[in-house]
């Protein structure tokens, strides 16, 4: 059996999760502290991909990245790089589609962060950088990790935008999701079922990991409550 679609899916999801992880944390922290009006506007823009059909995201990305489109032409000219119909093009799609999951979970964690902890650190003589890395991030770690896991799961399962941007080329742009569709379409039911089972197994592992993190969080909260008494 050719495992290429699995390897391709995993590397696309991994790269996209790394990108979304940092971008999500940065923007979530920015928006959590922004004035109300800016917050509302940014929030809508940053969450939009969550509610848009992936085909719409795919269409918009093609408008930007297509070979005769502004960014696509620029990349071709300067770097001799194609931004569509290659395996890494899927990363653009998965980043956009999974970003809101990371962003919203991280923002929730940052908003739940007690600002007096930051004030206390300031009066003790610490810099904003120290406060972010040594207090805020550790306190919000659970929400951030949960967001990253969700974003990874979403990236792994991305189909609509990916198929529009990359199509399906065996051994090149094929992912688990596009392979299932392609095999089913060509009547290879057994092949499709194999990939469906692979998909189910990965999803189960991801969800188990999520639950494990959540349970750990609840245990921590319970210990905090017990400590307060």
């Amino acid at each position: 059996m050719d495992w290429y679609p699995l390897i391709n899916s995993l590397r696309i999801a991994a790269i996209s999760t790394v990108v979304v992880f940092f971008a999500g944390i940065w923007l979530a922290n920015l928006v959590a502290r922004a004035p109300r009006l800016v917050k509302g506007a940014l929030d809508v823009v940053l969450t939009l991909p969550l509610v848009l059909p992936p085909t719409v995201v795919g269409y918009l990305l093609l408008v930007l990245l297509g070979p005769r489109r502004p960014l696509g032409a620029l990349a071709a000219q300067l770097l001799d790089l194609r931004l569509t119909m290659v395996w890494y093009a899927a990363v653009f799609a998965t980043v956009i589609v999974s970003f809101p999951l990371m962003y919203r979970t991280a923002r929730g964690a940052f908003e739940a962060f007690d600002p007096t902890l930051a004030d206390a650190a300031r009066t003790l003589g610490h810099s904003e950088r120290w406060i972010f890395w040594r207090v805020k991030m550790p306190c919000c770690l659970q929400g951030i990790v949960a967001g990253a896991v969700l974003a990874f799961a979403r990236a792994l399962g991305e189909y609509g935008a990916t198929s529009m941007l990359c199509g399906y080329t065996p051994g090149s742009t094929a992912t688990v999701a596009t392979t299932v569709y392609q095999l089913w379409r060509t009547g290879d039911d057994a092949g499709a079922l194999t990939w469906v089972l692979v998909n189910l197994a990965i999803s189960a592992v991801v969800l188990l990991a999520m639950n494990w993190f959540e349970a750990r969080g609840r245990a921590g909260a319970a210990a905090r409550r017990a400590g307060a008494r």
């Binding site: 007690d114 007096t116 902890l117 004030d119 206390a120 650190a121 300031r122 009066t123 003790l124 003589g125 610490h126 810099s127 040594r134 207090v135 550790p138 306190c139 921590g220 210990a223 905090r224 017990a226 400590g227 307060a228």
Partner: protein
């Protein structure tokens, strides 16, 4: 040690306008006032986590904030320790690491030395590796204090430090806190709405009412001769009546026409300008069942007994004055026994306990 605070800040419809000074070393100044009067905001302005609109904050000759000179030091450069109401310990760090986080900009060895010193001073041996969630409220408070002292601040600010503790635990920590603040070479500003805490812990007091600070008083002054309505009420005076000066009585003292009580009372206490109210402490009144025994006394208020309330350790008697307002009288249960059943009482207010007060709405 010197701290000069004179700041103004508008927050929505609330306006803060406070000024006071802490002059001597290890002076403990109380900011005393009801919830929402602006005490905590004042502390935040001193610490720099909130920026005033204008004014200045000077600590030991150093400008922490000065709107006219455009100085506004960030909190981390102020060397002001701040004990938060809920202690604000870092939940992700152990007790040791929390205390160590107070010692900023020192070598690793020096930090370890200071942590060890504070662990000893606050009896935290054995819990150094626990996290805040595993500590009791009292332990959390000790760690928070240790963390502040590890940073060697010039001033300590305390925001209602006992509000997060259960009643029976408070006493123990109050004594510990008192020892700590007495041993601390800099000054302290202590925010509270509890007059008893302030009486036991502090040297001087600044009453804050509705965003405004009043003149700084010593603790005995606040409790014996408060001169404003807000100070009298926060110091526990239960009886106030609208009043005006009806006649001068020489260099000291005057006669006050107390409208709510319907009587004129002599006072020998200093009369501030702009008297609006008179105050009488419920414990200082004397009562007689037989009016003849009150004859010849200077301030007699004939009252009808309205109701008698049996309290924990005392008896509270609500008395109807000639002016219609109620007067509260409080005495030991034993002292009330012989008077029980009386319908009318002659209340005697010695001129030395009639407090002329300013700062209320005019009579």
């Amino acid at each position: 040690m010197s701290l000069v605070v004179d700041v103004r800040k508008r927050l929505g419809s609330f306006s803060l306008d406070v000024s006071f000074e802490v002059e001597s070393s290890s002076e403990i100044l109380a900011l005393l006032g009801p919830s929402g009067c602006g005490k905590s905001l004042t502390l935040k302005c001193i610490a720099g986590v909130l920026t005033p609109d204008e004014g200045r904050v000077m600590l030991n000759g150093r400008a922490l904030f000065d709107s006219s000179a455009r100085v506004n030091l960030p909190p981390r450069a102020r060397r002001v320790g701040y004990l938060f109401q809920q202690y604000a310990l870092f939940p992700n760090m152990t007790v040791e690491a929390n205390i160590g986080a107070g010692a900023v900009g020192v070598s690793r060895e020096e930090r370890a030395r200071r942590v060890a010193e504070q662990v000893r001073a606050f009896h935290l041996e054995g819990i150094e590796r626990l996290r805040p969630a595993q500590l009791s409220g009292g332990q959390q408070q000790r760690v928070a204090l240790a963390r502040i002292l590890a940073g060697d601040p010039e001033l300590i600010l305390l925001d209602e430090p006992f509000s997060a503790l259960d009643g029976h635990l408070r006493w123990e920590f109050e004594m510990m806190l008192s020892d700590t603040l007495r041993a601390f070479p800099g000054g302290s500003v202590y925010v509270s709405h509890n007059r008893d805490e302030v009486y036991r812990l502090c040297d001087t007091v600044c009453v804050v009412a509705d965003g405004r600070s009043e003149e700084k008083l010593t603790i005995p002054e606040l409790f014996s001769t408060p001169s404003t309505l807000a100070a009298a009420l926060i110091s526990g005076c239960k009886n106030v009546s609208r009043a005006r000066v009806a006649g001068e009585g020489g260099a000291r003292g005057a006669t006050l026409a107390c409208d709510d009580w319907g009587v004129e009372l002599r006072t020998t206490l200093p009369v501030p300008p702009g008297v609006t109210h008179a105050g009488l402490r419920a414990h200082y009144l004397r009562v007689h069942a037989d009016p003849a025994r009150a004859a010849g006394e200077p301030n007699v208020i004939p009252c009808a007994v309205d109701r008698v309330i049996d309290s924990t350790f005392s008896t509270i008697v609500m008395l109807r004055t000639p002016g219609g307002a109620l007067l509260r009288y409080e005495c030991e249960k034993d002292a009330w026994a012989p008077l029980a059943g009386a319908r009318e009482l002659a209340v005697v207010a010695d001129p030395s306990i009639v407090m002329p007060l300013s700062g209320g709405d005019a009579a």
